[in-house]
């Protein structure tokens, strides 16, 4: 068992605070982008509307999808009723393919740059924690939170390489900041060794996959919330009412959000299936039975079933769209309960002494 290095542990805490600070500035920049870009988009849309009145050309520079709201929102035909897609939204949403567009969004670029800086500092924090303890940095609540926040932001940045999901920035960073603050304030634990029950290579496998899946669920949760908002807004716009959620202009239409969150949820569901299975294998090694309805096992199972329901809902008449989004949100609520209440309030084998 390698010796504990307290100095590294103290550096780690400093890095965590610095990361949280950087994220806060990035969060503000993302919020600024939401406000500013919506305005820019509105101007572009107005111009497009003006030109379309005279020339019937509805293609705005760099934003093909938005002006062609109808074509954009046309999803899988013959599947189920889709209130969100049946409406032709005029100048309502960002491009549905979530590819980077031509226009420069300076605040968003600043925000992403700051997030990259933050995640590097955060990585240093996680790494020094691991080196200080001489083991993987996920052995208690403090470490789950700090490492989990790091993975969530890192996954977000990795998806940004392929898709323009910068509209999720406030959501993801807001959550990361909450996690880091909660870790430092409520769950602070000094660097230390693991109790015998956690000394297993399954800790590395089981928990890392759980954290990764949770990070993906975080992304889809944010997207599902936005999907509901956008769906409400699109209905409003379709009915000719005033746009009271103007910042949602930067966000793609509800159907595109639903489709992408489905794809991410599918990956996360496989991850969660592995979490469950590896957890069962570890439980067999540690406690002699692979399943015993311990509170943690119960909630891991509940999460699995809810997301299984979500995947099935996509193939069920009347359950796509808004209802599926609600299932995704309920699933994430269960993830949160599983992490917070189950670890602290419920009496079970996963209750951590000293957290």
């Amino acid at each position: 068992m390698p010796a504990i290095n307290e100095t590294l542990g103290q550096y780690s805490e400093l890095f965590m605070l610095l990361a949280a600070g950087t994220y806060t500035v990035a969060f503000i920049a993302f919020a600024w982008d939401l406000a500013k870009s919506s305005k820019t988009f509105q101007a572009v849309d107005l111009k497009a509307a003006a030109s379309s009145a005279s020339e019937k050309v509805t293609v705005a520079a760099g934003r093909v999808g938005a002006a062609l709201g109808g074509a954009d929102a046309g999803g899988p035909a013959g599947r189920a009723e889709r209130p969100t897609s049946s409406l032709t939204v005029e100048g309502g949403t960002a491009a549905g393919d979530m590819k980077y567009a031509a226009e420069r969004r300076v605040p968003a670029r600043i925000a992403v740059a700051l997030t990259v800086l933050g995640v590097l500092i955060h990585a240093a924090g996680v790494l020094t924690r691991a080196l200080g303890a001489g083991r993987v940095p996920w052995g208690n609540m403090y470490e789950f939170l700090t490492t989990g926040a790091f993975v969530a932001v890192a996954v977000f940045l990795v998806t940004l390489i392929r898709r323009d999901l910068r509209f999720l920035g406030t959501f993801v960073l807001g959550l990361a900041i909450i996690m880091l603050v909660a870790a430092s304030v409520s769950f602070w634990t000094p660097v230390g060794h693991l109790v015998p029950a956690l000394q297993s290579y399954w800790l590395i496998i089981h928990v890392s996959i759980a954290v990764l899946s949770s990070a993906l669920f975080t992304l889809t949760f944010a997207m599902s919330v936005l999907q509901l908002l956008q769906s409400y807004r699109q209905k409003n716009l379709g009915a000719g009412r005033k746009d009271n959620l103007a910042f949602m202009r930067v966000v793609p239409n509800a159907l595109s959000l639903e489709n992408l969150s489905y794809r991410i949820n599918a990956i996360a569901f496989i991850g969660w299936t592995f979490t469950l299975m590896f957890g069962a294998i570890w439980a067999e090694k540690a406690w002699g039975r692979f399943w015993g309805w311990d509170p943690k096992e119960v909630w891991t199972f509940v999460i699995w079933v809810v997301y299984a329901g979500y995947l099935h809902a996509r193939a069920t008449r009347g359950w796509t769209g808004t209802r599926a989004a609600w299932l995704s949100i309920v699933g994430y609520a269960c993830v949160i309960i599983n992490f917070t209440l189950v670890n602290t309030v419920f009496q079970g084998l996963h209750s951590y002494s000293g957290l």
Partner: protein, 573 residues
């Protein structure tokens, strides 16, 4: 699950909803009263019930019910996990404790309602999987569906024109396309190859549905494996003090939970002796001092009474396997060695006493029953502290988990312990109600406080007690679960099936060729996906590139489809 069922029946709720919307409440009521219920008959009712049960909607509902139904098991204490806690809970909450019991909320996972949910779900699942398996088997044996008249209506569509001087007639073009598609893993059928408008139908991705079926079937397999474990498995506990030997026979267990079909003859009489137990505690990290960092038990095992002895190490997360069972290190504590002499001066008790851990730093409770003491039976209740310290208020506590200053603090009693009646008693509890106190802090004699080696004489010449020393004990769980391996195999199969069903795409391609009046050979193709397939557009582009290369056409990238990110799905169902 069952898409065919879904397509056939129209949702009654949706219908009524639209009726309400268009005709208004009054008319709906009227229509309802006028509508005569169709006579279904008994068979019809059964068929109706079956259709309902196997519909996707019901399956989804049952699935969500399963999630909701599982939750109470984490809110209330559960009997299988800890029956004593449940009894205490009912005692502590007299107003609703019994009521919850009547709802089986302390046995959620074996309750009638939870069983009903999962049994219905699995019946629904079987009802879905079986017809789908048959349908898929037929689909795999049949040829791709006929070429649609208008390929341009498919979600992905494209055309190519081969110049007249290229010398590729329509029939050769279709055969070239067939070859390319076959290489790409498609199953291809060429139609009307020598006619005016030769065409081909191609399909791939049959594994998607296979994966889907394997996933759902494996879940049934997991359930059956769990049931097998419950029928033929067994588990038990045994506390072993250093030097003790556990022999795998029914009497060797402190507690034994047999499966429904367990037979005692299936116990192989192996043995395991605890030679030494070591616990290491953290003395390094601040704020975590005294936290355990290692438990190691040195044991000697024998597969059968006659086999050679073998030295093994038993650790947490590292069980020992013996005779088809696994032995787990699940607990440990201190066992003070005690000698009790009775009023006649004879040794009436000698040996280790299991001190049950109650609080921090092995603050443990001790109960000693001495039924052999004469003239009066003796009983002791108290605490063992490995590192005894006293607070400023005079309260004893254990300051460290190690044996720095071991101390036994006991009250003593005499009288009838009630053991002679043959009624089983909890060894960790002493019912002092009918006993007369000898030692406690309220009596003149005071309580007994012992350090190793010390002896205290009991008042009234009832005898004496000596604290000889301290040994360590471990708690061992013994498990045998014959369903376990199968559960793992089915679990792995389920994951493999799940990944296949989510990431293999089932696609159909049709190609039609013909000769233009100006001599060019015209090629059109269309693609259709069955199920979610966000990469259909990519496949169309890939096919186009393949065709262009085959026929030496200049690369003319077609305008990308507008539905780049939205999934394309089948329209043919």
């Amino acid at each position: 699950m069952s898409e065919s069922v879904k397509a056939k029946k129209k949702s009654p709720s949706a219908e009524s909803a639209t009726a309400e919307g268009t005709t208004g409440e009054g008319k709906l009521q009227q229509a309802k009263s006028e509508a005569a219920l169709p006579a279904l008959g008994f068979k019809g009712m059964l068929r109706w019930a079956w259709t309902q049960l196997t519909s996707m909607r019901t399956a989804l509902f049952l699935l969500l019910m399963l999630a909701v139904g599982a939750v109470p098991g984490s809110l209330f204490p559960q009997r299988p996990a800890n029956p004593a806690v449940v009894t205490q809970y009912i005692k502590d909450n007299p107003s609703y404790g019994q009521f919850l019991d009547a709802l089986q909320l302390y046995d959620v996972y074996s309750s009638a309602w939870f069983s009903a949910i999962y049994i219905l779900l699995f019946i629904s699942l079987i009802g879905c999987v079986t017809p789908r398996a048959i349908a898929h088997y037929k689909a795999m044996k049949s040829q791709p569906p006929r070429t649609p008249k208008r390929l341009s209506r498919l979600p992905e569509y494209g055309t190519l024109a081969l110049p007249a001087d290229a010398g590729i007639p329509a029939s050769k073009a279709i055969n070239d396309a067939a070859g390319l598609l076959r290489k790409r893993g498609y199953r291809v059928e060429v139609r009307n190859a020598d006619g005016d408008l030769p065409s081909l139908g191609a399909e791939r991705g049959f594994l998607k549905e296979v994966g889907n079926l394997v996933f759902h079937t494996s879940l049934i397999g997991v359930l059956v494996s769990v049931a097998v474990g419950g029928l033929f498995g067994y588990s038990g506990q045994r506390i072993l003090v250093e030097g003790d030997t556990f022999v795998n026979t029914l009497v060797g267990y402190d507690q034994f939970t047999p499966g429904t079909n367990f037979q005692s003859s299936s116990l192989q009489p192996y043995s395991m002796q605890l030679d030494k137990f070591d616990a290491k505690f953290d003395r390094e990290s601040p704020g975590k001092a005294g936290q355990p960092i290692d438990y190691t038990a040195e044991v000697t095992t024998k597969e059968t009474p006659d086999s050679p002895a073998k030295k093994e190490t038993l650790k947490v997360n590292d069980p020992v396997s013996l005779g088809g069972t696994s032995l787990y290190l699940t607990g440990n504590g201190y066992a003070p060695m005690v000698t009790v002499r009775d009023g006649e001066g004879n040794v009436s008790f000698q040996g280790p006493v299991i001190a049950k851990v109650q609080g921090d730093n092995y603050y443990s409770s001790v109960v000693i029953k001495v039924p052999d003491a004469k003239p009066e039976q003796l009983g002791f209740v108290g605490f063992f502290l490995p590192t005894a310290l006293v607070t400023s208020d005079g309260i004893s506590f254990s300051g460290a988990p190690e044996l720095v200053n071991p101390q036994l603090s006991l009250n003593s009693f005499y009288g009838d312990l009630g053991l002679d009646k043959g009624v089983p008693q909890n060894v960790f509890e002493l019912d002092v109600e009918k006993l007369k106190p000898l030692n406690n802090r309220n009596l003149a004699a005071g309580g007994i406080t012992l350090t190793p080696g010390a002896t205290v004489n009991l008042p009234e010449g009832k005898g004496s007690i000596t604290f000889d020393g301290v040994k360590k004990y471990i708690g061992v769980d013994i498990h045998h679960n014959p369903g376990q391996l199968y559960a793992l195999i089915f679990g792995l199969l389920a994951v493999a099936g799940l990944m296949t069903s989510l990431y293999v795409n089932r696609r159909r391609v049709w190609v039609r060729t013909g000769t233009h009046t100006d001599g060019r050979t015209m090629v059109e193709y269309g693609l259709l996906a069955r199920g979610e397939d966000h990469r259909l557009a990519g496949e169309a582009a890939a096919l186009r590139e393949l065709f262009a290369r085959e026929w030496n056409l200049p690369e003319t990238p077609q305008a990308p489809s507008t539905t780049a990110v939205s999934s394309s799905t089948s329209k043919d169902q």
